[in-house]
Structures are given as structure tokens and as C-alpha cells.
């Protein structure tokens, strides 16, 4: 697909071997690959912390007769779990980690448009994380509001909400700057010959995501600033006692936070789109449909925030319009799912670990998407709002979707990033507990919610106990699989065999440069002459 000078560079120094030694070489480097790895490492650490908190909450639900910790602690736990998972893991997600590492490589560039700004974004990210941790141990403890920080409770509670939302505000800067950087990079730094319709689809996904990051995040910024100002000065904008309207907070919050779920899922969809052709050894079906459906998701997804507020009393016309738009946004997502399946048709499918997780993504994301349609219907929503159903639904989308997409991408690109092979058999074995535990856990949550179990309660009524036990056991099985999966990669990082240049037979640009990539990515700037994903040049002209 690209005419690279096949000089067969045997010993080119990789990005891991150049630059300052030690930790300084990482936290001062403006190399997009090192920054991607920085994000990856910090996100994985925080992810594991949030998983541990999730496990503690599941243990609490097992021990309702003799609670492990107080309701207040439980409140702080689900808030912390949500804040870390949302703002520090899935939101930067595949964009900040794999996006940073592979976006320039996939378009044949040496780096992103603003390398120093890129490093600055990571510093904003890590500052936000540190502020969130500070909020945990100072004042009257971590916020107990849930990650949504709804007023009026968030302006009345004595916990450390001000610092908590400030942490999220700082993280917003990180997100915006990464988005701005990616937009400029895609516009300016594509290799000669790489027209818009020759870009790999992961790039399209990152590009669409970058626009949502840039356009939606400022709204969250101002919303959280107003919560802070409200708490410090009492300006009354969201305070009913002073004529303010708390529902407006919900509007502003979801104006950002709904598009934000597409910031989380679209890059994962992009990664899946890279993985499926590679392991089906077949060109992608419906390139343009997939590319433009990313943009369609970005556009329509910005107009559906009201479906989080059907029970807030915002009025019937608004309810109906938002419900209709919610059904509409399922269309571009479905277009992607159908195109992936069509790509598999008559492909020569190889079930290696990245592919297994990619297919898991499709399966779990489909359940997540369909449950989303169900709760998008107005009358059903009244029954399901604020129950475990909602929790089950968004874990299917965010964990079954983004999370599995993240693992698929990690398994796919790990050899390229670190130059090490992992044990594929162990990775495959780890999939079983993850998949079985996942469904035991979250499908049970859907049922619990339908039965009426409200979310965010530290205890439950006796009739829900059996289901809670099943969910908890599922959670433990799933976490054991996660430990196996990530432990396997950690072992490979230190003891893995040297990975070859193209272990999966991929055809995009990252597989045509040495493993791990050299500092400047390309010895010779590639010239692109065809569309991507051509596996058999003779047949697929």
C-alpha cells in the first residue's frame, strides 16, 4: 500500500533506546510514542485502583447483614470509582494512549503537530489525577455525589466537591489540548498521497473524537466552574432558594457528558476497525460508511443529552424530541456493526487474542446498544431510571465496548509498541473468565434493575439478594481474568521474546516500520498510492 524504501534496516535504534535515561527520559520527552506510553501506564494504574474499589463495592453487597463499611464510605467509593473510570480511564482512553502512539505513524508523520503541547496535556492529566487523590485525603473526604455531581446536593454536601470538580476541570484541559493537537495533525501532517479517503479508519475515529473533545469539553468546564463558584461564593445560579434552576445544571452537565460517551467509544470502534480486517485477511467492507458514521455519531450524539433527564420534568416536547434523536443515533453505530460483520463474511478468520477481544467488543457493544434503545423509550425509561438497569447498560457499553476495545487494541499493538511478544495462549485463556464473569455480572445487573433495584444504594432488600450474589461472583470471576490478562502482558514486557516487525500480517503503515518504531518513525517519508486495507493487491484493485 505504501512505497517504502525497503532498505531492511537491521539495527535501527528504537524510540525506547534514545533520549535521556530513566524516568526523566519519559516525563520530559515530547516524542508522541513516549507520551502515548506515559498515558497508557498512568491510565492502567488508575484503572486497577478503580477496579479494586469496584470489587470492594461488590463485597459490600454480599455482606448486607454485617456491612464492611459505612454508607458514607460506599457513597465516596462509587463516586471515586466513577470519577477514575470516566475521567481518568475511558475518557482519555484509546485516544490519549494508542491515539498518541499510532496517529502520526498511521498517517506517515514523524510526530503530532504540537509535540510540546502534547506533553503539556499529559501534565494536565496527571495534575488532575493528583488533585483527585488529594481530594480523597483532605477536607471532609472524597465527594459522595456520584460522578455526575448533581446539584443541589453537590452544593450542599460537606465533602470535598470543590476540589473534586476542579480536578475534572483540569482534566478537561488535557482532553481539549489533545483534541486540538489531533485535529491539526490530521489536517497538516498526512504523508504525501494520503488523501482523506486513504486514511486508516482509526485515524477517522480519532479525528471525529477530537472534534467532540474540542466542542463539548468547554461546556463541562464552565459547568464545573459554576459549581465551584456556587460552593465558594453562593452566586445562586443553580440554587432554587435564590431563584436558580437545578435542572439547568443537568442540561449543561449532559450537554458535555453525553457527547463524552462518544469520546469514549468512538476511538475503540476505530481500533476494532483496524483489527478486524487484519485477522479476517480481507479489506474492510464499507470504508466510507464507517468513516462518515464516525462523524455522524459525533454530530447526532451532541443532540441527545436530554435522554438522561426524562424524569427531571423538563417537559413533554423536549422529552419526545430527545427520545427520537436517541433512536436516530443508534443508526450510525449500527452501520459500523453491520460493516464489521460484512467484513468477516468470506474472510479467512484467524482467532488470535486481539481478534477474540474485537469480536467480544461487537457482541457486548451490541447488547449495550440495544439496552440503550430500550431505555431511550420514554415510558420504559420512567421505570428504569436510576436503577441497576442503567448501571448494567453503561457497563456493557463502556466496559464491554470501550474496555474490550481497549484490551483488543492493547493486545494488537503491544508487540509493536514494546517490541515484545506475549503468551497468546494465556491471553486466550484469560478471555474465558473475563467474558463469562462479565455477562454474569452485568446481565444480572440489568435484571436487578428491571426488578427495581435502585443504583447507588449501599445495601439492598432481601428479595434482591440472590441476584446480588450472582453479580458479585461474576465480578470476581471477571477480575481474576483481568489479572491474568494484564499479568501476562506485564511478564511479556520484561521477559517476552523479541517481536517481529509484522506479527499479525497487518497492512497499515505501523507494520511497515521496525519494531519497536524508531524515534522519527520513518527513515523515508512514505508516499501513499492506494487506499488502506489491501491484503491481496492482485484481487482487490
Amino acid at each position: 500500500m505504501a512505497t517504502l524504501a525497503q532498505a531492511a534496516i537491521p539495527e535501527v535504534r528504537s524510540y525506547l533506546d534514545v533520549g535521556r535515561p530513566g524516568i526523566l527520559g519519559w516525563i520530559t520527552s515530547t516524542d508522541h510514542k513516549r507520551i502515548g506510553v506515559l498515558y497508557l501506564a498512568s491510565m492502567m494504574t488508575l484503572f486497577l485502583v478503580a477496579v479494586a474499589i469496584g470489587v470492594l463495592m461488590r463485597i459490600e453487597q454480599l455482606m448486607i447483614s454485617k456491612p464492611l463499611f459505612s454508607p458514607e464510605t460506599y457513597n465516596a467509593f462509587f463516586t471515586l470509582h466513577g470519577v477514575i473510570m470516566i475521567f481518568l480511564f475511558v475518557l482519555p482512553g484509546l485516544s490519549a494512549s494508542f491515539g498518541n502512539f499510532f496517529l502520526p505513524i498511521l498517517i506517515g508523520a514523524k510526530d503530532v503537530a504540537f509535540p510540546r503541547l502534547n506533553l503539556t496535556s499529559w501534565y494536565f492529566f496527571i495534575t488532575g489525577a493528583l488533585l483527585a487523590i488529594t481530594a480523597l485525603f483532605t477536607g471532609k473526604g472524597f465527594p459522595d455525589t456520584g460522578w455526575t455531581f448533581y446539584v443541589p446536593f453537590s452544593i450542599q454536601t460537606g465533602t470535598n466537591v470543590t476540589l473534586g470538580v476542579f480536578a475534572a476541570f483540569v482534566l478537561g484541559f488535557s482532553s481539549i489540548l489533545t483534541g486540538l493537537n489531533f485535529i491539526t495533525t490530521v489536517h497538516r501532517l498526512r504523508a504525501p498521497g494520503m488523501g482523506w479517503h486513504r486514511m486508516p479508519l482509526f485515524v477517522w475515529a480519532l479525528y471525529a473524537t477530537a472534534w467532540i473533545q474540542v466542542l463539548a469539553t468547554p461546556i463541562l468546564g464552565i459547568t464545573f466552574l459554576l459549581v465551584m463558584v456556587e460552593r465558594i461564593f453562593g452566586i445562586g445560579i443553580f440554587d432554587p432558594a435564590k431563584g436558580g434552576d437545578p435542572v439547568l445544571y443537568q442540561h449543561l452537565f449532559w450537554m458535555y457528558s453525553h457527547p463524552a460517551v462518544y469520546i469514549m467509544i468512538v476511538p475503540a470502534m476505530g481500533a476494532i476497525t483496524e483489527i478486524i480486517p487484519t485477522f479476517a485477511h480481507r479489506t474492510i467492507f464499507g470504508y466510507k460508511a464507517i468513516a462518515y458514521s464516525s462523524l455522524a455519531i459525533a454530530a447526532v450524539g451532541s443532540l441527545v443529552w436530554g435522554h438522561h433527564m426524562f424524569t427531571s420534568g423538563m417537559g413533554d416536547p423536549a422529552d419526545v424530541i430527545f427520545s427520537l434523536l436517541t433512536f436516530l443515533v443508534a443508526v450510525p453505530s449500527a452501520i459500523k456493526v453491520f460493516n464489521w460483520t460484512a467484513t468477516l463474511y468470506k474472510g479467512s478468520i484467524e482467532l488470535r487474542p486481539p481478534m477474540i477481544f474485537a469480536l467480544t467488543f461487537i457482541f457486548l457493544f451490541a447488547i449495550g446498544g440495544l439496552t440503550g434503545i430500550i431505555q431511550g423509550a420514554l415510558n420504559v425509561n420512567v421505570h428504569l431510571h436510576d436503577t441497576y438497569w442503567i448501571v448494567g447498560h453503561f457497563h456493557y457499553v463502556m466496559f464491554g465496548g470501550t474496555g474490550m476495545g481497549f484490551f483488543a487494541a492493547l493486545l494488537y499493538w503491544f508487540p509493536k509498541m514494546f517490541g515484545k511478544k506475549y503468551n497468546e495462549k494465556v491471553a486466550t485463556i484469560a478471555w474465558f473468565p473475563i467474558f463469562i464473569g462479565f455477562n454474569m455480572f452485568y446481565a444480572t445487573m440489568l435484571v436487578l434493575g428491571y426488578m427495581g433495584m435502585p443504583r447507588r444504594y449501599f445495601t439492598h432488600l432481601p428479595q434482591y439478594h440472590t441476584a446480588h450474589v450472582i453479580a458479585s461472583i461474576g465480578a470476581f470471576i471477571m477480575v481474576s481474568g483481568l489479572i491474568l490478562l494484564l499479568g501476562n502482558l506485564l511478564v511479556a514486557l520484561f521477559k517476552g521474546k523479541r517481536a517481529e516487525q509484522n506479527p499479525w500480517g497487518g497492512v497499515t503503515l505501523e507494520w511497515q516500520i521496525p519494531t519497536p518504531p524508531p524515534l522519527e518513525n520513518f527513515e523515508v517519508v512514505p508516499t501513499i498510492t492506494t487506499r488502506p486495507y489491501i491484503f491481496n493487491p492482485e484481487v482487490s484493485r
Binding site: A113, L180, R188, V214, T217, I235, L252
Partner: protein, 206 residues
């Protein structure tokens, strides 16, 4: 921030890229204020009469004076850029300094204005404001939030312009490499444009 390279001009900075980046950043700033504009429009339709009285109590003289100051400063920063493009470094330095002084004057005005309001007890949770009807409380809440956030942007703009001024004096910005100056100018114009919206929304609401 502006250290981009392209394949076609590997040795040069990518001006177009840095312009794209700057404009996208300005979008985000507008959207940041956009959230406040939305709140303003909703509350104004809800409390039209109270917003009218609220606007009457603001000091229109200072508001308009500040508008003139900011508009003039936009002119001076534009001249600073043009002067630099034509190689007139001295004029550029003068005009940049003038812009910074205008910015400071704006903040001094703001200080005088806010002090007067606070002296009257019209501030969030202030004794006078608490006796006002709900709509006026919201009006003043928005007034402080919007002008406060804008004031912070003026402060940020002054800081940026000061850094740029140092760059110009040290010869880091020249008649062929003035991109940073231009981007700083764009930011300053944005600060100005937002004020142009705040003036009628708050001071001329009566």
C-alpha cells in the same frame, strides 16, 4: 507550542498548522462562555423584568468606558502585528506596551466598579442582594460570573502579551517569524469580542 514541522518544509515552522490550532482553541473559549450565554438567555426569558431593573443598577458609564478601552486595545495590538510584518520593531513594541496598559486600565476600572457594588452590599450572599427579588439575584450572579471569568481572560491575555513583548524585545519574533505575535493578537481580539457581547447583555439590559 508552535514547533510543528511538515514534510514539505522540514526546516520551517508550520504557520498554517499553528493557525488551525489557535482557531480551534478560540472555539473552545467561545463555547466556555457559551455555557454562560445559554444560562443567561434562559434566565432572562424567565425573569425579564428583574433583568431590566438589574441592568439599570449597573454603572453604564464604566461599562462603556471599558468597551472603548478594549476596542482601542484591539486596534493597538493589530497595529503591533502589522508593524512587525513591515519590520518596524519599535512601533510594534510601543503598540504592544500600549495594549498591555489598556488591559490593565480595564482591570482597574473593573476593580472600581466591583468595589462600588460590594460597598452597596450587592454581591453573592451580600446583605443588599439577598433582599432583591430572585431574578435580580440571578442577574447579579450571572454578572459576577461572566465579568469575573472575562476578567480572568483579560489577565491571561495581559500575561500572554507581556511574554510576547519580551520575545519581540529579544528579537525572537521578527518580520519573517511573527506567528506567536499573531496568535497572541487573536487571543486578545477574542477577549475583546466576548466583552462586546457582555456589554449589551448586562449593562444595556435595561
Amino acid at each position: 507550542m508552535i514547533s510543528a514541522t511538515t514534510h514539505t518544509h522540514p526546516a520551517h515552522k508550520d504557520y498554517e498548522g499553528s493557525k488551525i490550532g489557535m482557531w480551534v482553541f478560540l472555539f473552545t473559549e467561545i463555547l466556555l462562555f457559551g455555557g454562560l450565554f445559554i444560562l443567561y438567555s434562559i434566565y432572562r426569558s424567565e425573569y425579564a423584568a428583574d433583568f431590566h431593573t438589574g441592568g439599570q443598577h449597573l454603572n453604564t458609564f464604566i461599562g462603556v468606558a471599558n468597551t472603548i478601552i478594549l476596542l482601542t486595545s484591539s486596534l493597538s495590538v493589530a497595529i503591533a502585528i502589522s508593524a512587525m510584518q513591515r519590520g518596524n520593531r519599535k512601533l510594534s513594541i510601543t503598540c504592544l506596551s500600549a495594549t498591555i496598559v489598556f488591559g490593565l486600565a480595564f482591570l482597574v476600572d473593573k476593580y472600581i466598579e466591583w468595589s462600588e457594588e460590594i460597598r452597596r452590599g450587592v454581591y453573592p450572599n451580600g446583605p443588599a442582594l439577598l433582599k432583591f427579588p430572585d431574578g435580580e439575584k440571578i442577574f447579579y450572579g450571572l454578572y459576577y460570573a461572566m465579568t469575573g471569568l472575562h476578567g480572568l481572560h483579560v489577565l491571561a491575555g495581559i500575561t500572554v502579551l507581556t511574554v510576547i513583548l519580551v520575545f519581540v524585545m529579544r528579537g525572537k519574533i521578527t518580520s519573517t517569524d511573527f506567528n506567536q505575535l499573531e496568535n497572541a493578537g487573536l487571543y486578545w481580539h477574542l477577549v475583546d469580542v466576548i466583552w462586546i457581547f457582555l456589554l449589551p447583555m448586562l449593562y444595556l439590559a435595561a
